[in-house]
């Protein structure tokens, strides 16, 4: 966030909604590097009912803090 400056990433009269939508849609970037066209893609196979890479699950036990 250190690169974000007033006037550099949004106009004085630009609404918050327009700014956030522009970031979400990829029209605005926080860094110059992020503005480079993407050349690498990662995808995952999802098999319903099976664990897939990146899936996380709650531990089957409850952790209780005791002071």
């Amino acid at each position: 966030m250190g690169r974000m400056k007033r006037g550099e990433f949004y106009e004085e009269d630009e609404s918050i909604e327009d700014i956030t939508a522009a970031f979400a849609g990829g029209d605005k970037f926080l860094t110059e590097a992020a503005a480079e066209p993407q050349r690498g893609w990662t995808a995952s196979i999802r098999l319903p009912g099976r664990a897939s890479p990146g899936d996380t699950y709650l531990a089957p036990v409850a952790c209780v803090h005791r002071s």
Binding site: A34, E36, P37, Q38, R39, G40, W41, T42, A43, S44, I45, R46, L47, P48, G49, R50, A51, S52, P53, G54
Partner: protein, 133 residues
Amino acid sequence: MILCDAAVADPTGKVNMLGAGWSLTTSPTAPHAVAILIKVPWDRTNQQIPLILELVDSDGRQVALQTSDGEQKIGGAAGIEVGRPAGVVAGTPIDASFVLNVPSLPLTSGRYEWRVSLGDDSFVASFGVRGKP
């Protein structure tokens, strides 16, 4: 195309890999990744290149597994498109990459291939699944 234990494609076209280069595994397979390193020819930049990745058995049939949502064929598809970075000499191939993360698969012992069709070209990475001793 490289089989590895885990991989993530970097947005710049590089691939971060762990445990790369295996060709023999057991069943059920460990979660793994298929990494594809691509050099896009200059004349194929700025256009969508279809990429189809399939897991096929020794008979060339695409592997299908039963899931809670029914039978699912193992593979993936994407369209990749790279531009011409500013300042690059005309004619330079452009780095691109695609990684498919694959969950644990209950494969029977035998030979398998990850087969990728990339535009008009196709490439394979084969591996074996050991039976129980």
